[in-house]
């Protein structure tokens, strides 16, 4: 009826045999995952006839004595809602379909055997190092690694369609259900063209931090990045170019119509956004200064602690392949997220700055930053430009979608962005955790 468990050798031939390349080794037992707020011990007793059940709660600090529980029909890990069960396959079937188990079991899987991972053979390591050295000397380290062996996928290549820009597609914004609704996104830049038809009906709070100037955008840069981060889902007569199309937009004009600004206005605007509880600040601006600037270190730290994630452009001072550039201020502050730029083949952009060696100076994440189509002051209406300035609002808009989806703020939101980004075959000093992605 109940088969004795065994840590060596399978129960039956159908679960895979030891040593076969490509097949997982199994013990013959099953790992059962239960729904939250159920009682695995009771369910197992009623459905699998497990009379001898070891429960982790029976042990001091739940330190289960594996020697003592070796003969148990089932061992239950109470904190995890998971049990390892010795049953034969017929019993497994009836357990899952029984009335007592209905709605309580999430999954049943064969218990796997794990091994210490082997180190690569020395000769393979030497070969790999030799190839890396050669490609580095030839300046090819910005290219994605050549496909080797099974499992390598074709190089990505995105393009604008009538429906959406390449960046909206690549980041999966085109298929997400999230909108950024009720999330305040502050964009600190040259302002916004308030006459632009694509922003009619939006919740917009605008303030100028340039003495003598209104928040109206007389340059273009601000309207472009606000379009990318928060533009409409279905702009009339053109393709979608914006991410968080229901976000509340906080326009902070910190750069003049000539494109210049200084710390005083930028810090005042950051303070304003934090005071208004904006979860996200997008700053497509920076100075080519390698040393992290103390006021931005403090501003970033305190904003993050208050639940505001500041996202800034890494910088455009590279000229690859030779000159990798460096992350400037404010992006190089430790508590400010620095964004690198990718092209439509998801390679690092020619101008995208590389991480500095010191704390804070790293590129944290990347976004679409080459040939980015977005809004522009009237009558021009739309324009296509490139820059880490364009990658930044993609990431900011996606952060708004994740803030809406998860309720997370500050450092937890940062971690979510990193966790959910698409790893690329590029050095992390250039792309951080990879391409920011929207969720489902």
């Amino acid at each position: 009826m109940i088969a004795n468990s065994s840590t060596t050798g399978p129960l039956g031939t159908e679960v895979g045999s030891e040593g076969q390349l490509g097949l997982a080794q199994t013990t013959g037992r099953y790992v059962v995952v239960f729904e939250e707020d159920t009682s695995p011990t009771d369910i197992l007793g009623a459905t699998a006839g497990s009379s001898n059940v070891a429960d982790s709660r029976d042990f001091e600090s739940q330190a289960m004595d594996m020697d003592a529980t070796g003969g148990a029909d089932a061992t239950v890990f109470a904190e995890l809602g998971i049990a390892v069960v010795s049953v034969d396959p017929e019993q497994l079937g009836s357990m899952q379909t029984s009335e007592a188990a209905r709605g309580t079991i999430l999954s049943v899987s064969p218990e796997l055997i794990h091994h210490v991972l082997d180190a690569p053979l020395d000769y393979l390591r030497g070969y790999r190092d030799g190839v890396t050295d050669l490609t580095g000397r030839l300046g090819f380290d910005d290219e994605p690694p050549a496909a080797r062996g099974a499992g390598a996928s074709a190089a990505p290549s995105f393009a604008d369609t009538d429906q959406a820009t390449w960046g909206i597609q690549a980041t999966r914004v085109s298929t997400t259900t999230k909108t950024g609704e009720d999330i305040k996104v502050a964009v600190l830049d040259t302002g916004l063209d308030s006459t632009h038809p694509d922003f009619v009906g939006r919740n917009i709070t605008a303030k100028s931090f340039i003495p003598g100037a209104s928040p109206q955008d007389g340059h273009g840069h601000g309207t472009h990045v606000i379009g990318t981060s928060c533009g409409p889902k279905a702009p009339s007569g053109t393709r979608r170019y914006g991410v968080a199309y229901k976000a509340d937009i906080f326009v902070g004009k910190v750069l003049s119509d000539e494109g210049s600004g200084s710390d005083a206005g930028i810090l005042a605007a950051i303070n304003w956004a934090v005071a208004n509880e904006c979860p996200i600040i997008s700053m497509s601006l920076g100075a080519d200064v390698a040393r992290p600037h103390p006021p931005y270190n403090q501003a970033g730290r305190r904003a993050l602690a208050a639940g505001t994630l500041i996202i800034a452009a890494a910088g455009n001072n590279a000229n690859r392949p030779g000159n990798k550039g460096f992350v400037g201020a404010p992006a190089n502050s430790p508590d400010i997220m620095a964004v690198g730029a990718l092209d439509p083949q998801l390679r690092i952009a020619r101008f995208s700055a590389r991480s500095l060696p010191g704390r804070g100076g790293q590129v944290d994440i990347a976004g679409p930053g080459v040939n980015v189509y977005s809004s522009w002051p009237m009558p021009t209406r739309y324009h296509t430009i490139s820059g880490t300035s364009m990658a930044t609002p993609h990431v900011a808009g996606i952060a708004a979608l994740w803030a809406e989806a998860t309720g997370r703020r500050g450092l937890a939101l940062w971690a979510t962005m990193v966790k959910e980004s698409q790893r690329l075959g590029m050095p992390s000093v250039d792309v951080g955790s990879g391409l920011a992605l929207a969720g489902g």
């Binding site: 494109g259 210049s260 710390d263 005083a264 005042a268 303070n271 934090v274 601006l285 600037h293 103390p294």
Partner: protein, 77 residues
């Protein structure tokens, strides 16, 4: 006159107004007290900049950096 940002330590955040007064006493023309960030901005004569560091609660006094975007018709911004 030098435009500066004065950063206040965590222990003085709740009394940042007092720090601002002390900075004024030392010759700073205080423009803004950014309470959320713990930063006081304004200007000070170059010769008095180092004196501001002596004020209780001041971690750092930094001259403003400026930002300059490329022109609007630039392909890379």
């Amino acid at each position: 006159m030098v435009q500066v940002s004065v950063t206040v330590d965590d222990g003085h955040l709740s009394t940042i107004g007092i720090v601002a007064d002390a900075l004024r006493d030392r010759g700073m023309d205080v423009a803004d007290v950014l309470a959320e960030l713990g930063i006081i901005t304004g200007s000070v004569p170059q010769v008095r900049q180092s004196a501001l560091m002596e004020v209780d609660g001041v971690i750092s006094v930094d001259a403003d950096q400026t930002i300059q975007l490329p022109p609007p018709d630039s392909p890379v911004q």
